[in-house]
């Protein structure tokens, strides 16, 4: 396994009085696909949101490339090379596809042509619809746009919050193929999913989260074969 690009240590996140994440530690090795699986309310989204800087953690450290980025604002974190594909896609409905992609590269001031071509190559459908308003796309296309938009910041780590949510199985498969493709091109992926089966098949490393704690870890295959995981998340 290669060196960890992202190291999370004793991370605690509170929402109001509720402790959503109760001190978790895990590593994200560079160039791999890492997945966090778990039920609703396990604290997966809170973990991602605090890495992205959208939520200030109460305690703990988040080390990225050897630098503690815990508590920094989202602008600083995106600039360093971590982007989040938010849950529920959250594309900008009134902006065109092209404008959505440009917003993804908002903090960059260099030429975007190559990156636009790269995203269009990954998602030819977006190229066809580049002048259409984001809100007029189908669910699957919106997910592609959300991923494409995040890639436009040329991230080292892309974090995805439930990319398969509300999509038809065939489209989910397409999305996971794209995730593998993005990873092959050198981007580290941190994925959280309820669709544990798909996520574990795709991921190199997996962690299971339950009520704010990490309860199991291993390679994707190991977790797939684990009886507890099977019973709780795979329904077999």
């Amino acid at each position: 396994m290669s060196d960890a690009i992202l190291k999370i240590k004793d991370l605690k996140v509170n929402y109001g009085g509720i402790e959503a994440v109760k001190g978790i530690s895990f590593d994200v090795p560079a160039g791999e696909i890492v997945t966090l699986i778990g039920a609703n309310g396990a604290g997966k989204s809170s973990t991602l949101r605090s890495i992205a800087g959208l939520v200030k953690p109460r305690e703990g450290t988040i080390e990225f490339d050897g630098e503690d980025i815990c508590g920094k604002d989202p602008t600083a974190i995106v600039t360093r090379g971590i982007t989040l594909v938010p849950e529920g896609r959250r594309i900008f409905p009134d902006l065109t596809v092209l404008e959505n992609l440009r917003i993804g590269a908002y903090l960059r001031h260099d030429d975007l042509t190559d990156d636009l071509n790269w995203v269009y190559e990954l998602f030819p459908r977006l190229k066809e619809r580049s002048w259409q308003a984001g809100g007029t796309l189908s669910g699957g296309e919106q997910q592609m746009l959300a991923v494409g938009r995040a890639l436009m910041s040329r991230p080292k780590v892309i974090m995805m919050d439930e990319p398969s949510l509300g999509l038809a199985p065939l489209i989910v498969k397409g999305i996971f193929d794209i995730i593998k493709e993005i990873n092959k091109q050198g981007v580290t992926v941190l994925l959280i999913e309820q669709n544990a089966n798909m996520a574990l098949k795709t991921a190199n490393v997996g962690y299971v989260m339950e009520t704010g704690r990490i309860t199991m870890s291993g390679t994707g295959e190991e977790l797939l074969a684990n009886d507890d995981v099977k019973a709780a998340y795979l329904g077999t």
């Binding site: 982007t83 959250r90 409905p93 009134d94 903090l107």
Partner: protein
């Protein structure tokens, strides 16, 4: 963009430039050549006020329509702009009569006179008032920045209420007697440089620019706003409007961009306030009520939230209707007959009904979030004529089948 589209937009630009040139020629003729018939007497103030309100609407639209910040502070920033402009353009010799209860006031300085000592009185009035207008915008912007720090952390309705409160506070502060040496308390400010001072004497002839001046300033301001909206900052504003969380996740600093939009919008509200002061020739803090903000909001909604051209169209239509076209409803007579309910105030009743009808049938305003473009109009006309022709053919076919 394809080559055909580029050609089309180039053609559109040329048509637009020609129309603007024609407009200014017309305005020049109105100022200097046309006899002052009752038509022209009604038309000129409507044009001036319409232009000023266009700017006010567009500045509000930048905030409410493009950044999604529901602010109702427009009148307060207009007041700041109007007062700043007036205070710094009252001729020094007139201070005694304007600030009669405050020993001539504290500020014994007039920008047009200062500039006039170098460029002569006409140059002084023109450039001096432009400097004062910019100053008015800047002061409004500084106030906006100060108020924005606490207020912009609020969302939707709360922001609206906070800014609404600000308008009332500002109005009260400007009428406060202790500040009378600067603001003249609750008395009006007058005798400052107005639109009628915009003239140029060449040889023996005097050329007037009273109507062109507001159009020029307003057009420049709107061009700046449109450039901003189409820049990457504008895109970030729209992203914040569409989805704050996603925008933040993309690394857009919410506070910084909201502040930027707020300050710029208030700068232009200040400029609009200064122009309104020039138009009215006297100003009083009392008249800058929140009803004024609602009026502008109404125009923005009628024109279409998120459409610059919609705001302009709505501003002119609104001003023309309320000040001119519906006047006959107040006259007590219709077609020579005396109609008892056509009396003072009936105009407002009809006007309200018209607005309701517009809102009912154009729920997204006249323009929605689209923009008026000349190539668009040409396309629309072509489509319409194409449709009519098709209908003709269909009708002919129908009769043929029968």
């Amino acid at each position: 963009m394809t080559k055909i589209e580029q050609k089309k937009s180039k053609k559109g630009t040329w048509i637009a430039l020609c129309c603007i040139a024609a407009l200014y020629v017309l305005l020049f003729l109105i100022d200097n050549v046309f006899p002052s018939t009752s038509f022209i007497v009604m038309l000129t103030p409507v044009l001036k006020k319409g232009a000023i309100y266009s700017l006010l609407c567009v500045s509000m639209n930048l905030l409410n329509g493009f950044t999604g910040l529901f602010s109702l502070g427009q009148a307060g920033f207009m007041l700041i702009g109007a007062y700043t402009y007036a205070i710094f353009t009252i001729p020094v010799a007139e201070h005694m009569s304007v600030y009669q209860y405050f020993d001539g006031g504290a500020i014994q300085f007039s920008i047009p006179e200062a500039i006039g000592s170098i460029l002569g009185p006409t140059g002084g009035a023109f450039f001096g008032s432009i400097i004062a207008i910019i100053l008015a915008g800047c002061v409004a912007a500084v106030f906006a920045a100060l108020i924005g720090i606490p207020v912009l952390r609020l969302k939707s309705d709360y922001l609206a209420i906070a800014t609404l409160g600000f308008v009332e506070i500002i109005r009260a502060v400007f009428q406060w007697n202790s500040l009378g040496v600067i603001t003249n308390g609750s008395n009006q400010l007058r005798k400052y440089t107005a639109f009628s001072d915009m003239k140029l004497t060449i040889g023996g002839a005097t050329l007037k620019f009273g109507t062109i001046f507001p159009f020029l300033i307003v057009m420049l301001c709107i061009i700046v706003i449109v450039l901003l909206i189409n820049s990457s900052y504008g895109r970030a504003f729209k992203a914040i409007r569409d989805d704050e969380v996603a925008a933040e996740a993309m690394g857009i600093s919410l506070f910084k961009h909201k502040m930027l939009s707020f300050v710029i919008s208030c700068f232009f509200a200040g400029v609009g306030g200064a122009l309104l002061a020039m138009f009215q020739t006297t100003i009083k803090a009392q008249s800058f009520t929140s009803a004024m903000t609602y009026e502008i909001l109404l125009m923005v909604v009628i024109g279409g939230i998120g459409s610059v051209s919609g705001s302009c169209i709505a501003a002119f239509l609104y001003i023309a209707c309320s000040e001119w076209w519906l006047r006959f409803l107040d006259s007590g007579k219709f077609l020579g007959l005396s109609v008892p309910f056509f009396r003072d105030g009936f105009r407002k009743v009809v006007f309200s009904v018209v607005i309701m009808i517009i809102v009912l049938f154009f729920s997204r305003g006249i323009m929605g979030d689209r923009e008026l473009s000349f190539s668009g109009i040409a396309g629309g006309v072509k489509k319409l004529s194409g449709r009519l022709k098709k209908k003709d053919i269909e009708e002919k076919e129908d009769t043929g089948n029968e």
